[in-house]
Symmetry: C2
Amino acid sequence: MDVEQYMAELGAAARAASRVVAAASTSVRNTALLAARDALDSARAELSAANAADLARGADNGLEAPLMDRLQLTPARIDAMLEGLTQVAALPDPVGSITDMKAMPSGIKVGRMRVPLGVIGIIYESRPNVTVEAASLCLKAGNATILRGGSEALASNMAIARCITRGLEQAGLPAAAVQVVDTRDRAAVGRLITMPEYVDVIVPRGGKGLIERISNDAKVPVIKHLDGTCHVYIDAGADEAMAEAIAVNAKTQRYGTCNTMETLLVHASMAASLLPRLGEAYAAAGVELRGCERTREWIPAAGTAVEADWYEEYLGPILAVRVVDDIDAAINHIDVYSSRHTESIVTADHAHAMRFLREVDSSSVMVNASTRFADGFEYGLGAEIGISTDKLHARGPVGLEGLTSQKYVVLGEGQIRS
Amino acid sequence: MDVEQYMAELGAAARAASRVVAAASTSVRNTALLAARDALDSARAELSAANAADLARGADNGLEAPLMDRLQLTPARIDAMLEGLTQVAALPDPVGSITDMKAMPSGIKVGRMRVPLGVIGIIYESRPNVTVEAASLCLKAGNATILRGGSEALASNMAIARCITRGLEQAGLPAAAVQVVDTRDRAAVGRLITMPEYVDVIVPRGGKGLIERISNDAKVPVIKHLDGTCHVYIDAGADEAMAEAIAVNAKTQRYGTCNTMETLLVHASMAASLLPRLGEAYAAAGVELRGCERTREWIPAAGTAVEADWYEEYLGPILAVRVVDDIDAAINHIDVYSSRHTESIVTADHAHAMRFLREVDSSSVMVNASTRFADGFEYGLGAEIGISTDKLHARGPVGLEGLTSQKYVVLGEGQIRS
């Protein structure tokens, strides 16, 4: 197979299909989503057989247990895919809305219309359910999609793609509106991210290494999600029970997520009363602490944090803790070490709350809430394709709106410029 | 001079200054703008002397006449710079506004706050007034700026920079909030576009070649403005007087601008009545026509358009003209040949107007108006830093809003995730 040629064909077909999808009504796109759901429901046996083939191949290749787990399409995961399609079909359609229409002195009216981006390339790892999640969000937002999942999930992804194709065809939409790259050749990724003539944006989902590689090599804009080194700062005078609840929840509710707190900052005046009880709470939860010198005065069991700890995204039961002298020191620490994903202040001081909101330059900035809320569902987006740590275009959880752009529309009555 | 080292120093200083500017109040930023205006006004002799040095150097180097003209800082151009600063100071401040604040089922409130992008790198050619225009818009939007103008304008730009510095200092803002790169070494550009640790976005202003080179080499996002191959489509049944007025204005009001029409599409049913009178109007204005075969039936004086003409951005008194059979053919032509800048339909048919608005994928889409309106001032943005032909982030004329991003803000009362 000539991968260059194959990818160019997928790209050209996607570009043509994107025009049809963009012009399709909301109900046509929803019909496709619901018909794909029904097709998946009818194809459970086919999906399981394809998935079994992937699993057998994975076992032969000595795939590690966590990868084997993510690869698996259990009946419960198929149910969740179907439910996801139902939910995405029920979301409000972002496409076509016109906002900010204003009359100008020249007599023209100027507004902005929300429109699809065009063709979206999705690059992800071994979870086959991402195929449905990503394709359905892109389709709902009026885009065509080219999906390149992990090669170990290829049979499962192709089986899912056949069901989505049935859904598209039932709605009268072109099959090329959702295409899964049908090759394990790694050159396919390199081509996908360097065809700006066919692909408008790349959304990679996976580890930091994958995303950095893609961002470096891409000739197409990338909506990227790098690491989440999230902070909670407990301010002087904060409610102690609230501070403890948020500090424990932000760390322990789930360890492996990007919105999990990785460094806790505590105002010096709160250290004596708060750190010992937090030390106990984290010990009970099995969290290893790495503290600054002042932290270790109050939590002698804590290890010593070294410079590298302040940068670390542990993604596990480890937490760095630092005592700071004031809110300026907290904001400075965040400015130096944060990955600018999500930070929260626990405070009773309104002026400090407002300063933190204004001055902390992260995609989500919170007052008196757990960092774990930084999530498309919790923010009311309905679903998310990822969380962007970029500043341009979409920042923070990316829902349907992040998969669209806004163009200017001008309504005149024959105006010319003088 | 070690250019790598020098640029890194500018970058680090800009990054530090950007935090101060972002936290500064509206009135502090406005004070800096107005104080810079007064400093420029008091420094007219200094500006003229620096500009004379640039002009003398340009003459020695055999700079072409149009470049020499753009380089010149006449008293009228200095007046316009001062007026621009007054206007930017008067614009509403985009920074800090919180929108879409909504209560979520968990009890948290989620909204979006508009915040500066951080550090903006501006790369431009020989016009020194761009230094003031770009710096003032970036500063108003709360950003620090590094400006790299054409080397032939270096003395003028440094003289302007000294005045801006005086304005910043008078407002208590760091001088590094606006820095002009003080070297003619071309390596400075290469470094500026590859320091994501210091620069958040690059805005190039200049010819297509410059912008393509920068986009290819940049490791920082680029808000780019490539070419404007703009179209007007005259639909069946359009008002003929309106169609003629728009078709003439869109081509002839100015030739060298990106929103000037380069190809006119005429519905076949309008050809007999409209093309002869348009042929006369364009002949009177000195516009050379290059038509399809059907065009040349009605305008025998027109030359023959070849395939390359449909792609051409003439930026001069030349126009391609094509007769099409229906609105689908018009939209298809635009889809294939347009640079997706600005397109306009002249029509009396409401459904056609709505289809054109929806289906034409360009940064500005118009009904019954001249393409020449695609402009930040005409759209009520107050000013523009450029016109973006990208789909992500800012699309179309980019004003203050395009120089900001939106982060999520979350207000809680101690909520944790369960």
